[in-house]
Symmetry: D2
Subunit: 177 residues, 4 copies
Amino acid sequence: MTTQVIVLNGGSSSGKTGIARCLQAILPLPWISLSVDDLLRALPPSLLDSGSGIGFGQSGEVTIGAGFREMEAAWLTGVAAMARAGARIIIDDVFLGGAVAKERVRSRLDGLEVLWVGVYCDPTIATGREIARGDRVRGMAARQAEIVHRGVEYDIEVDTSHTESLDCARVIAAGVV
Amino acid sequence: MTTQVIVLNGGSSSGKTGIARCLQAILPLPWISLSVDDLLRALPPSLLDSGSGIGFGQSGEVTIGAGFREMEAAWLTGVAAMARAGARIIIDDVFLGGAVAKERVRSRLDGLEVLWVGVYCDPTIATGREIARGDRVRGMAARQAEIVHRGVEYDIEVDTSHTESLDCARVIAAGVV
Amino acid sequence: MTTQVIVLNGGSSSGKTGIARCLQAILPLPWISLSVDDLLRALPPSLLDSGSGIGFGQSGEVTIGAGFREMEAAWLTGVAAMARAGARIIIDDVFLGGAVAKERVRSRLDGLEVLWVGVYCDPTIATGREIARGDRVRGMAARQAEIVHRGVEYDIEVDTSHTESLDCARVIAAGVV
Amino acid sequence: MTTQVIVLNGGSSSGKTGIARCLQAILPLPWISLSVDDLLRALPPSLLDSGSGIGFGQSGEVTIGAGFREMEAAWLTGVAAMARAGARIIIDDVFLGGAVAKERVRSRLDGLEVLWVGVYCDPTIATGREIARGDRVRGMAARQAEIVHRGVEYDIEVDTSHTESLDCARVIAAGVV
């Protein structure tokens, strides 16, 4: 079986995007990198601040309504279709609901060969990186660091606390078949 | 029939993205906005500078290889699947090949209710806007302004030369059913 | 006398930055372009959300405290020093206080040969462009369109409502000596 | 004596900007953060690709002409004037010429109380981070990692190879008086 999708799950500021870029650079075949952040960028204003959409509180809490869930489901269905059409896809996501969130993604990717990767980062270290990057609401990193992994099983786990993105990517690349 | 996809076709700096944002703001239901620029952002470095990928020359010429075409086909297949799954989608694209490019997109959107929109802009004016925005290679606007419309038929045509993005969006919105 | 500084004053989304880029492209000598937005980017978080700093309300209102004023004064003093050291400078600014704000800037630029430019834009048109660009709080354009010009005298006035940035830049460039 | 300017010198992708943001977050008084990248953004196109300006080669080499040097000198003179006018300033820079480059900066900051900080990073690690960030020409990190420190004396040295930005910032903050 050939890996068709790599799912990177981790909290905000855990280093998923950097790992995705390194994977693109070192994997021998071309991989497309998509993120739930791309979906956010594509949404209309009405789904970015209403009760039905996705909201970001001042201390890093995220609230999600039914309108966002519908769009997310359609988006994932489309990303799965890209993979079925032959594109190799890296998805970076934040499983706010832990195992329930993974199941939501898994059901859309049904029939595809998926490599599930947990991207861990110590909450204190992720908080420091959140300050250093300066473009995220303070508090998201700490809130999400652990809950996104609750009950989630992975094929590969990496921890960016003391390992560089490129080295994490090498571990993941070794698991791509 | 209910419109499921709006395709905006126009040359670089013709104002497609601004029109898409205005459409998202004024249409009563939520629409997702996706662009071929999103695909470019998702590509690995190996498809951004090789003969097989997409390349941007110093005077605004664009060269496209087989590797990019494969990714584009898979991406369009996925975007069509998003629409079939219930998301309303605005696609902004640049039909470098005119009617041939439209047919490539149309075939992927088969069975969907599509509103085809031509976004025109006088080449001299688009060139001035290219200078004003400052983030595009000089020359793309002029090279693409006319060729992207060659042989392409539309449901609606707008011209941003002397009409604001929001007013163009209002014309398009009136055609959404 | 040789022009040393060009000050572009106009409300949010009136088109100042685009004009500045066009000026840099068409003026025969090299000009540095600086904006009050550059100052905002350089500020610490503590001056971006406190009573002492600068705050942006949800309907486009801007509140300014003493801490921001101190930084702004030092920044303007420095920009004036760059001009005195021989760099040609384009400053783009928003005179929220009208004539009082102009006097604050003028006093820092004392002794320099300044070309004062008013960048006008119809409030309704500026509001449409604010929607089209999508990266500004809704309401700033309308609130600022007229108040920034109250009591302010200029050497040159341009109006971007129906004139392209590049054409406005040409009018301004003709006044640079 | 009170520290008026903090100069962070290090190669591309060594982590200077992240440290600067952390310093802004933890220092009790407000500090303005400016970078040679801000100067690059302010330059006209004519100084970004000509023999007289600053050029970036495809393997990470940087070439600098007389036109850029003039602008840089005026910019530094202005930044020094901001500090003399009372703003606390963090400058992040890349001393491509080592000790000669430091002397160029030092002469402009004459009379100010400056804290000189060397930001080191192992070239291999910086190269990995260059890949992970994805927005820099490959090769700059490795080329600059060591040469920027040649013959340069510092008040404080930090090494981001195995120390987080926030922890480096704490070491530097302890030296601010």
